[in-house]
């Protein structure tokens, strides 16, 4: 009995090695994908280690308010004379941490509910999908604004939790329709015919074939969460407890008058560029992942 187990183990290891080989090949073929991965990894590095490079609190240079971009201050300074680039880097942890929490909750809840509804069908399916449709109909941003009067979204974790709990609807719908189409395929029928347990079928047969789809949704959820929370802080309905990109945008536009005087423009542009760059990185990375997980798309 031991021999086959070892063989299976070796098989798995080779598969894994081949997978990483494939990833490398896919990335190497198109420089844009490599750029996307580098950008995403760069932002992750910035979010985790960025604040370590700067003193806390950030130094102020009161003689240098709204300074123009220079070598010393690449994006100028803000209304207190603090370096704008430093603000973007230290502000990224809040933004990225809550976005990752949101994405994990969105995907776990969405996948779970979508799989359950699609696989069970029947009454549970109807009830769950009704709820999902309702969630999808209630406009997210206005609801968040109304909720902001009773919740303060104090920490990045709270923010991620709320956004995640509000955001699973789309993923659940998509996963359900994937499940519905997959469960009629031959390999699932065969697994059921063999009398394998539902947990086995879902965990070992369904989930792996949906992995690319789920991974992509995860990255898209990260972008959505970044937009949503930066937007909420930008609108100025939440208390400014921590430094983050949305707070910077708000202060630049409504405090610094970036819509009428050019002095605050670099202060506005720095977080905007950070958002644009992160979006670009994620879009390019999604493109690469599509090909990694979908061997049929590979041009060998």
């Amino acid at each position: 009995m031991t021999a086959p187990t070892i063989a299976v183990g070796n098989g798995r290891a080779t598969l894994r090695r081949n997978f990483w080989h494939g990833v490398w090949r896919v990335l190497k073929r198109k420089p844009s994908r490599m750029a996307g991965m580098v950008i995403v990894l760069g932002f992750a590095f910035m979010g985790i280690f960025g604040p370590l490079f700067y003193p806390d609190p950030l130094p102020r240079d009161t003689a240098n308010l709204y300074a123009a971009p220079s070598w010393e201050h690449l994006f100028g300074t803000d209304f207190e004379g603090t370096d704008v680039l430093a603000l973007v880097v230290t502000g990224s942890s809040y933004v990225l941490l809550s976005a990752v929490i949101t994405a994990v909750i969105t995907v776990v809840l969405g996948t779970g509910i979508g799989l359950f509804a699609g696989f069970r069908r029947g009454r549970w399916d109807t009830v769950l999908m009704r709820i999902t449709d309702m969630k999808l109909t209630i406009p997210g941003l206005p609801l968040l604004l109304v909720l902001s009067t009773i919740w303060k979204f104090g920490s990045a974790i709270e923010m991620g939790l709320v956004l995640g709990l509000l955001g699973w609807g789309g993923v659940a719908r998509a996963v359900r329709s994937q499940t519905l189409s997959l469960r009629e395929r031959g390999f699932i029928e065969a697994a059921r015919g063999l009398g394998l347990s539902t947990t086995h079928i879902i965990g070992r047969e369904l989930l792996p074939s949906m992995a690319p789809f789920i991974a992509m949704n995860m990255l898209i959820a990260v972008t959505g969460a970044v937009y949503a929370q930066v937007g909420l802080f930008f609108l100025g309905v939440l208390p400014f407890e921590a430094n983050n990109w949305g707070v910077m945008l708000n202060l630049a536009v409504f405090g610094g008058g970036a819509m009428s005087s050019p002095a605050a423009l670099p202060y506005l542009m720095a977080p905007l560029l950070a958002i644009l760059l992160l979006t670009l990185g994620i879009v390019l990375a999604v493109d690469a992942m599509d090909e990694i997980f979908n061997p049929r798309l590979r041009e060998e």
């Binding site: 309702m134 109909t137 209630i138 406009p139 997210g140 941003l141 206005p142 609801l143 604004l145 109304v146 909720l147 902001s148 009067t149 009773i150 972008t223 937009y227 937007g231 930008f234 609108l235 100025g236 309905v237 945008l249 536009v253 970036a258 819509m259 009428s260 005087s261 050019p262 423009l265 506005l268 542009m269 905007l272 958002i275 644009l276 979006t279 670009l280 879009v283």
Partner: protein, 335 residues
């Protein structure tokens, strides 16, 4: 036709349930606000020398439902007020009903959203057809990339960039309000010109934000139709390239009409950013102002109206699709 009526009835019932849920949510949010705004208001009025009874009545009028009685009683009162379109009184605009304030703000959201969406729809589908026909060429690539980028960027980033360019760096457009106060509102050239000038940036943002989605959707729809048999038949009959717009676009556009109505609804939610950035007094700005002023009656009303707009757009999308696509209709007759 009975199938159509049944469909409509189902939609309306579901829409009503949604509105009921949304009203309930806003009722309980207003009730659970820390520091109870009604009690605070009451205290303030008594301090200002009002008798407790008069202050009590004033608070009831202000908030649109009696703060006394059981929670259930208050809820019933609030709901019956809603049925009469009575959402209470606004705190920030004293003496004026919330519904009046909301309806006067609604036109500043509806018109720009409609104009921007239709503009992006028209440009997007034309460009989408080109992107599909020239999909292996450079032009197609450029169009598709411009679509993906604009589709991926959030509305407020677009609005901020446009604002930075056209009101700060190169100040040729006004940055707030609906028209200059020097013009008298009415049907005169100066006022209308000023209206258009002030609406340009919001409309342009709605249009740019929508354009990316349209070009991508139309491109994939056209590519699908191009693979259909009737196109092959038409090509075999020797039809020229010019037939593309007449034959292909007409068929490819059908599924996009559903998205059109849906995106109109979605834009009501997104209007919040654009109205805040360009200081444009529509429903979104009203919602923000009501939150910063702690005007809870107005807040509940604005939230309800935005949601209602989205529900109506969803129903319209579904019904409209039934009307314009004969295949959906015939499928229904069988079922």
């Amino acid at each position: 036709m009975t199938a159509f009526a049944r469909r409509l009835a189902g939609h309306l019932a579901r829409g009503l349930v949604m509105i009921l849920i949304v009203t309930t949510v806003s009722f309980f949010v207003i009730r659970s606000v820390p520091g109870d705004p009604m009690a605070a208001r009451y205290e303030k009025m008594v301090e200002q020398g009002m008798s407790p009874e008069a202050a009590q009545r004033a608070v009831e009028v202000l908030f649109g439902f009696a703060p006394t009685g059981s929670l259930w009683q208050q809820y019933v009162d609030y709901m019956s007020g809603l049925a009469r379109l009575d959402l209470g009184q606004s705190l920030t605009v004293p003496g004026v009903g919330v519904s009046t304030v909301l309806f006067s703000a609604a036109k500043w959201t509806i018109l720009p959203v409609l104009a921007g969406t239709l503009l992006s729809f028209l440009i997007g589908i034309v460009m989408g057809v080109y992107a599909a026909i020239k999909r292996s060429g450079k032009l197609g690539d450029i169009l598709a990339i411009s679509g993906s980028l604009l589709h991926g960027v959030p509305q407020y980033v677009l609005a901020l960039l446009l604002g930075a360019v056209f009101t700060t760096l190169w100040p040729i457009l006004p940055q707030g309000g609906t028209a200059d106060i020097m013009f008298e509102p009415g049907f005169n050239a100066g006022y209308i010109g000023s209206l258009v000038e002030h609406a340009t940036l919001p409309v342009l943002t709605y249009a740019l934000a929508g354009y990316g989605g349209w070009i991508l959707a139309m491109k994939s729809s056209v590519v699908t139709v191009l693979g259909d048999d009737f196109i092959l038949a038409a090509e075999l009959r020797g039809l020229k390239r010019g037939f593309i717009f007449r034959y292909v676009a007409r068929n490819a556009i059908l599924p996009l009409f559903t998205i059109l109505a849906l995106s109109l609804g979605m834009l009501f939610g997104g209007a919040i950013f654009i109205e805040r950035i360009f200081n444009y007094p529509g429903l979104g700005l009203m919602l923000i102002d009501s939150i910063t002023n702690r005007d809870y009656a107005l807040m509940g009303g604005a939230f309800l109206l935005i949601t209602a707009a989205i529900i109506v757009a969803n129903i319209a999308a579904d019904l409209f699709y039934t009307v314009i696509d004969p295949r959906v209709r015939s499928g229904e007759g069988v079922a």
